[in-house]
Every structure is written in C-alpha cells, then in structure tokens.
Symmetry: C2
Subunit: 236 residues, 2 copies
C-alpha cells in the first residue's frame, strides 16, 4: 500500500484493476455475495496479488484511506508554532475531502454501497475514528500544559470530524454535484467560530479564549448592551 | 433484552450468570479463545438461552447499552420547548455515565478488555455512534428551520459524546476511583460554554435593577452572544 502522495500518483494499474473489478461485482451481485476469489478471477490476477495491496475485502472499498491518513499525519507533524491549532486541524480535514472529491463517481458509488452493508459501515466508523485520533493527538500536543488540554483536544477533533462529515455526506447525497469545498469550508468555519481564533490573527492582540465579562442592568435597552458588547469584542 | 429501567431492575439471574461466566472466561483464556459454547457450559444453560439474551458474543460484553439507548431515546422524546437543547443532550449523555458508574468494577474490567480486543473496539465504536445519532436526531428536530441546523446538530452531538467519553475514560483509567460525575460535569460544561446557554440562572422574578453578568469567550460569534443575552434578559 502506498504511503505518500507521490507513490499514490504512480500507483500500479493492478491495484486499480482490483478496485474496478471489486466494485463491478459488488454492484452486480452485492457486497456480501462477492468473494476475494471472484474479484481476482475478474481482474485476472492471483489471490496473492490481491492481498499484497489489500489486507481484506473491506480494504478494497476504501483503497485510499491509508494514504490519506499518512498524508494527514505528515501534514500535522510538519506544523509549527505559527499555525493556529484549530485552523490547522480544519486544514488537515480538508485533505480527506480532497481525496473524496478527486473521484466523485467512485465516492458516490461507495457511499451508496456503504449505507447498505453493515460490515462496511463498521469499517468506515473505524476509519473515521483513526482520523479523529490523528487530529486529537496533534491538538493534545499543542494544548499540552493547558487546563483540560486533552478534553479540549478530543472535543475539537470530534467537532471537526462531524462538521467535515456533515458537509461531505450532503455532497455525496447530492450525487457529487454540488461544490464540496464550499460546503466543507462553511462547516469548518462553524467549528472555528465556536473554538478557534477569529479570522484575523494579530500577534499580541486579544485571543479567542480570552473571557469577556459584561455586566449590565436588566432594565438597560438591548441596543445599548449590544453596542457595549461589540465594543468589548473589538467589532464595533 | 430489557427495554426499560424497571425491567432492568428485575433482570433475570440467568442473564447475569451468562455475563459473569463470559467475563470469567474472557479473563482466563482471552476473548477470542472463548466460544459461546464455553460460556453456556460454565453458566450451566443451553445455547438457546444465551441467544435469547444476546444476539452475539460481542453483546454479552456490553449487556446494558440497549437499555441505556432506549432510556436516552425516551428521555429526549419527553423533552419540551422549555428545555434548552444543548443542556438537554448533556443531561442525556449523563444517563450513559450513570450506567457505567452503577458497576465500577465491571466497567473497569470491560474497559481493559475492550482496549485489547480489536473486534470489541469496533463494536464499541458502533455503540458510541448510535448514542451520537440519538443526540443528533433530537438536536436536528430542535434546530429544524435554523440555518445550518443539521450541521449544528451533528457538531454539538459529536462534541457532547467526545467530552463525555474523555471524562469517562479518565475515570476508567483511574480504576473507577475518582468522582466520575464531577469529571463528566466539567467536561460537559466545556461543551455548553462553547455551544449552549450560559449556566447562570437568575432565580425569582426579574427586576429592572437586577444585574446580569454574561460571560463569553472572545471568539464566540456575536449572534450567539446576542441570542444568549436576549434569553438571559427574558426577551428571547
């Protein structure tokens, strides 16, 4: 299995042939009714060739997740102190979207298959979990020493994955027709607005986790309160 | 399998005997090496009795999740417009904690077993996914008609589950020694601070000269702050 984008770009035709044969059979006969023997027979290769590329039948359904997980891990490992952590994990999540968007027809087809086959849904949950743990591990490192650092890391990683998947699934349900990037950007923006820095970061300026305390009389007119608030938030 | 707390309180001894036998064998021989036949032999019952209570060997490891899922669904279904939605899903998540805390020794033992057996981890992921979907379905209903309602629902549900599980796992790692409720309360408080209403409630009748104190993170979106403010001022 390739472990970098460069290797994936030059991935061998045999691997592609196995994926194509598998999906043709899954479509014709159903996933459960298709064996690895059926797949290799159609692709015209031996069983050993199949298992050289894929540990199991499930893996042929998600042929690029290992590469994408490796890319994500490398991307996060290459981060520096200058990267705002929440934005960085949002950018890492966009690598997954890119993989899906590279081949919309394949992605949509797999989505429909996965919805029908419980074993594939379980496999997909385990893949999603590995992405989430990769994001959380990075955030735990960045939040080390902060109070509740692991809590924040786990919650933000889960929120990023959920936002990404909400947008991804809308796109897959649309048949891969809509603009996937725009939907994912908006979804991730929501997570950043809840947890991250404001869009413009000025060093030395107030930080997103600063706490604003506003004290007001209940009888005060709302417009005045909002005005004060805008001013306190630096958005007046 | 019982579907209510009342039924669970009167759960038959045979079911408990099967769980006890299973765990004794998992501990002695390992999970993979233990068959359903071994379990029923030790418990002194027939195979049919096992499958009356548990669809599979995995289910005997998590004997109370079905009941807990049913309780959570009923709890959410009984919600009214007076319940703030984010707080409500946090309270729903506390039902899961209560199930774990009812039997600390069993929960800790299962946690250690689950960490070692990949098949059980996969099963646990699917259970966690079902809790998350139950919370998200409720929030989707409450947020219906709001812009990005399904996005918000999915993200908040994932954040609640991640926060709950972060605290739950800390407690399980501690051997069930610490105060589980306090840890989960603090974790869920973090999610509410990011997404929900402020936790300060002014008791009694509002008076014009009451002082309102609003605490917000600087990074919070202004519309959210205003919404919370309106609600706190009783003008929502």
């Amino acid at each position: 299995m390739s472990s970098s984008s460069a290797a994936a770009a030059a991935k061998p035709p045999m691997r592609d042939a196995l994926v194509a044969a598998a999906f043709r059979l899954f479509l014709e006969r159903g996933y459960e009714q298709t064996t690895v023997d059926d797949i290799v027979a159609l692709a015209g290769v031996g069983r050993r060739s199949f298992f050289r590329y894929f540990p199991s039948k499930e893996d042929v359904v998600f042929p690029d997740h290992e590469r994408c997980l490796a890319d994500m891990t490398a991307f996060l490992a290459a981060s520096g102190a200058e990267h705002e952590p929440v934005r960085r994990v949002c950018d890492a999540a966009r690598l997954v979207l890119r993989m899906y968007a590279e081949n919309p027809a394949f992605s949509v087809h797999r989505y429909r298959l996965t919805k029908k086959v419980p074993g594939l849904r379980a496999y997909e949950l385990s893949v999603v979990w590995r992405y989430e743990r990769a994001l959380a591990a990075y955030l735990r490192g960045r939040f080390a020493g902060r109070p509740d650092g692991t809590l924040r890391a786990d919650v933000i990683a889960a929120a990023v994955v959920a936002a990404h998947n909400n947008a991804l699934r809308s796109w897959l349900r649309s048949g891969g027709e809509d603009d996937a990037s725009a939907a994912v950007d908006r979804a991730l923006e929501y997570v950043q607005s809840a947890f991250g820095l404001p869009s413009v970061v000025v060093p030395g300026e107030p930080r997103a986790d600063d706490v604003i305390v506003l004290v007001s009389r209940r009888g005060a007119p709302l417009w005045r309160v909002v005005q004060e608030l805008e001013s306190a938030l630096g958005r007046g």
